[in-house]
Subunit: 142 residues, 4 copies
Amino acid sequence: MLINRRSFMIQFGDCDPSGIVYNPRYFEWFDISLHALLARGDLRLRQMIEEFGIDGIPMVESRAKFLAPSRYGDEIVIETSVAKLHRCAFDLHHRLFNADTLAVEAFETRVWTVIDPQEGRIRARPLPAAVIARFSAAEPPS
Amino acid sequence: MLINRRSFMIQFGDCDPSGIVYNPRYFEWFDISLHALLARGDLRLRQMIEEFGIDGIPMVESRAKFLAPSRYGDEIVIETSVAKLHRCAFDLHHRLFNADTLAVEAFETRVWTVIDPQEGRIRARPLPAAVIARFSAAEPPS
Amino acid sequence: MLINRRSFMIQFGDCDPSGIVYNPRYFEWFDISLHALLARGDLRLRQMIEEFGIDGIPMVESRAKFLAPSRYGDEIVIETSVAKLHRCAFDLHHRLFNADTLAVEAFETRVWTVIDPQEGRIRARPLPAAVIARFSAAEPPS
Amino acid sequence: MLINRRSFMIQFGDCDPSGIVYNPRYFEWFDISLHALLARGDLRLRQMIEEFGIDGIPMVESRAKFLAPSRYGDEIVIETSVAKLHRCAFDLHHRLFNADTLAVEAFETRVWTVIDPQEGRIRARPLPAAVIARFSAAEPPS
């Protein structure tokens, strides 16, 4: 399955008066990791909207365990992979490492949605074969 | 159990290029709702740190279901309650309503932590009776 | 000229490890105040885009003086007014009060922009008379 | 004078429903650039607080011109330099480039502040010689 790693340093402004990462920042970072994973599979949201006529890939569910706090200046690696493919959705698995410590582990489910042209409503639709192929790739296309 | 409701309007800057709420914003709002709930129980983090010697009440787990998207200008109500008391932790339950629709439902677990003076390590400690009493109140103290 | 006041409490997550407001938050608050001012004049960005065919009202210049720090729990009032009308732009004046102290004072200039249908380029255009009338109102329409 | 360049890609969540960068994000990026500049001069805020007894280096003034909009996926370079040294303060100059275009130019003034031990008040103090030396370096120390 498609996988991506990215690394960055925690910024001063990512932290709250307790001196640890302000919790919602983790979800920003996982969102950035989703887009980086898509790019690794040569997928970009703007192109996906044009090519597949989707409205987006909204998150419908998330679960996270915060195992250790992180602080300003810490070097972080987030490893994000496609964990499971559903008919109209996919699961992502994020593992955030602070040095060698698994500090946060999260799962999220995102749905492949289109705007129904007749009803004007947002509806889940099956993942296209081309997207399944890219998500299933053991290695990103070179 | 202690409960609080707060209402606000979704701002332009809360939304992403898809026109819907940028997902991490929900977690900011739930964090604000936690502090509002504490205040409802006449508890404030700064005072809790001084009074009980805690290091903080870090989130160790979260789960959320995003049932419907919300947009700029939508009027939101978040209802937050203490869902369960553990020995050294407590669960919160957030329900975010957009008009009459339950749009997001989330649970989180927060741990009562102190800095061990001898080891210098952060450790979970039992919730004080005074805090249990306030969390258990059917009605906030008047 | 059109004026609006709004009040709110500074949140825990608005502050950085120094314990004071993380500076970029002020600019979020001024952006929210812009939208609140527009609403006071019965103007909303989405409607302005449809009614006047604008692409937006991007900020082209800002100036701010930070006179006193603010902290978690402080009660804030932001007073925002239209300070000056230009041909294709307008200036806003924000005054942020912490209790009775003027803590931040800021000015910004925003441009009335449309997408030129022939060139596909974003261009400044004169403020419509209807918008000038609303910005010039001593009192908001009742 | 000390100078630093850093580059990054604009993220989806950095943009608002207009599809352009949500304005306050620029100020987050300039704050990150300040810290990166300090690190380039082998200065880190936590160490500066310990070594020099400062309370912080709060921003007291900012000015910015937004010359061109930027969008999701754009590759950005921010060049930040110490523009001027005052007795108790220093000015930074940020230039944000989108490809070859100067998209945002900003100046900010930050004050060297300590907590007066007798009065308990925050006061501006002269920049230490060691800090002036590092800020004045044509090249960062190797």
